[in-house]
């Protein structure tokens, strides 16, 4: 079932259009930066963007910082929001269930394909932006300087990029789980996706709101930028660990809700 779901996802033109869009934005930014050779001043604009003028190999980090706040969560929310609601709208959900595919199995297969989509698209964005960065901004002109100001060896950079890709993937668990849960509640894909995004926007507003600081540590977007700590020397693990744990909790709670709802629901679509 998991393989069937993956093959369905990979055969969808929409999947590739989304990935293409995710790659397009960082590429566009790279073109502008390279053409005018003006980066944002250090400390302003997306993370790492000022650093890449010295070294194109660091561009994947900048690219991920660009897509992380909006593009990636929107894509993930759409993908996960579509999972069950999309089948319901197409009328194929009832035929899957009477095939029979158990409801739990279907949910797990959908979840796996969302996870594959998140990791796959983050990896693709990283690779494409590496290519774009090196070709437009040049390769190893200067050494890579960590956020703490110490030089990083190329192996260290690769290792930390891999960690970053993993952490950003994990950061999307919360959105994906919320969207998947909403997807079992409604037959409307936009409804489920927008519901999850509404939750994220709320979270992002509250994160910056001083008055909301008591709930701050429990907001799903609170530790999204913690991966920047992976480029410190030595790595600061505290925020990354918290972010990881928080996403797991969100994932467990909302997937549990999704399962409880879906397995007891009347399928009238």
């Amino acid at each position: 079932m998991i393989l069937v779901e993956l093959s369905k996802m990979l055969r969808r033109p929409r999947t590739w259009a989304t990935v293409l869009l995710l790659c397009a934005l960082p590429t566009l930014v790279a073109i502008f930066v390279a053409a005018r050779n003006i980066g944002p001043r250090p400390g302003e604009g997306p993370a790492f963007l000022s650093a890449v003028l010295n070294n194109g190999t660091l561009y994947p980090a900048a690219a991920l910082a660009i897509i992380l706040p909006i593009f990636l969560p929107v894509a993930v929310a759409l993908m996960a929001g579509e999972s069950i609601a999309g089948e319901a709208t197409a009328g194929t959900l009832r035929y899957l269930l009477i095939r029979p595919v158990g409801r739990t199995r279907l949910l797990v297969a959908k979840l796996v394909s969302v996870v594959v989509f998140v990791l796959g698209s983050v990896v693709i964005v990283a690779l494409v932006s590496l290519l774009v960065g090196v070709s437009l901004l040049g390769g190893q002109r200067g050494s890579v300087v960590s956020v703490s100001g110490v030089d990083l060896t190329p192996t260290q950079v690769v290792g930390r990029m891999v960690l970053t890709v993993g952490y950003i993937g994990v950061s999307m668990i919360g959105v994906a789980a919320i969207a998947l849960f909403l997807s079992t509640c409604t037959d409307s894909t936009p409804g489920a996706a927008l519901g999850a995004l509404a939750g994220l926007v709320t979270s992002q507003v509250l994160v910056t709101l001083e008055a909301a600081s008591p709930v701050g540590p429990y907001l799903p977007t609170r530790y999204w930028l913690a991966w920047i700590d992976l480029f410190r020397d030595p790595i600061l693990w505290r925020q990354v660990e918290r972010g990881f744990a928080l996403q797991l909790v969100y994932g467990a709670v909302f997937l549990g809700l999704a399962w409880a709802n879906f397995s007891s629901k009347d399928i009238t679509s």
């Binding site: 369905k8 009328g91 194929t92 009832r94 269930l97 009477i98 029979p100 007891s264 009347d266």
Partner: protein, 308 residues
């Protein structure tokens, strides 16, 4: 399974949506080898019953047994033996019909991958889509989609076929083909449960009928019993006056060229008329049509909303 074992058996099946009672105490008995017509106006609860039989919708009260297995508790055991078409066919619009079927074949209880293409081709041939090209399903006509839906239902040879309005969108030839296909499957031992609001459909296909209206099963009867002779014989003759005089006392109805006579034996009646030198153009035993039976027991469909 013995010949008269129940393939579908429900007792007191009830479904309540909020305060709407969609299905109300339905007791169905569908036997092995039946072609069972489940008749009812739009919105009478047919589809809800079908969905409950397949474990898609959970009953508020009552019991269901399909192929001897309690549903929805162990529905996973019986579903592999059921082919179904529920409220119209559906497929992924951006994929071809063939691709849709092989995806379906790979899910649930997948058959061997090696013979997948053969199985798909076989069911496509069966429903008359053997020559289908790689056009996406969204370019299909309604009739083609209906055929594809039937193909999907037949993908793993079912012992029970549950079909909801299977001829919807088909042209007369297509309808004829589907009837022949169902008769063929039934002859090979498949039990057919056909839910429809089309009388002609049920009349042409089914040997037993259940009529549902406003969620209640009004009657469940064999087609032969429903259409038993009414005890009247219709005589067509140009000599109506003389025939009326001859059969006086037994004539219950008279039109310009036709008499309705209370009698049991058409042969004896014909002999009597011809013996008296009357010309007879036709003699027929009167039977109730399914339409008369249905209109006799069913109220207005729920898609009609009268002013109160």
């Amino acid at each position: 399974m013995s010949a008269d074992a129940c393939v579908i058996r429900t007792r007191g099946l009830t479904k309540r949506y909020g305060h709407v009672l969609a299905v109300d105490g339905v007791d169905l008995d569908v036997r092995a080898g039946d072609t069972y017509g489940f008749l009812g106006p739009n919105g009478s609860g047919k589809t809800t019953v079908v969905r409950m039989l397949l474990g898609l919708v959970f009953a508020t009260a009552g019991e269901i047994e399909v192929l001897g297995v309690p549903v929805p508790k162990r529905v996973g055991e019986v579903l592999p033996h059921i082919g179904a078409l529920v409220e119209g066919p559906s497929a992924y619009g951006h994929l071809s019909g063939r691709r849709n079927l092989s995806l379906l074949d790979a899910t649930g209880h997948p058959g061997p991958r090696r013979t997948r293409a053969e199985r798909v081709d076989a069911v496509l041939d069966r429903v008359g889509l053997g020559g289908i090209d790689s056009r996406p399903v969204k370019a299909y006509s309604l009739g083609m989609r209906q055929r594809l839906g039937l193909a999907a239902a037949l993908l793993s040879p079912p012992t029970l076929l549950i079909l909801d309005e299977p001829t919807n969108g088909l042209d007369p030839r297509g309808i004829q083909e589907v009837r022949e296909l169902l008769a063929e499957l039934n002859a090979a031992g498949t039990t057919v449960f056909l839910s429809s609001h089309l009388l002609a459909e049920v009349e042409a296909t089914c040997r037993r009928v259940g009529i549902i209206d406003r969620g209640r099963l009004l009657l469940e009867e064999s087609m032969d019993n429903l259409r038993a002779p009414t005890g009247r014989i219709l005589v067509h003759t140009p000599d109506v006056d003389r025939a009326h005089a001859l059969l006086d006392g037994r004539v219950v109805e008279r039109t310009a060229e036709r008499l309705a006579v209370r009698a049991d034996d058409p042969a004896a009646l014909t002999a009597q008329l011809v013996g008296a030198g009357l010309r007879v153009t036709g003699v027929a035993v009167e039977r109730r049509t399914l339409e008369e039976v249905v209109l006799g027991v069913v109220g207005a469909g729920s898609d009609r909303v009268d002013r109160r």
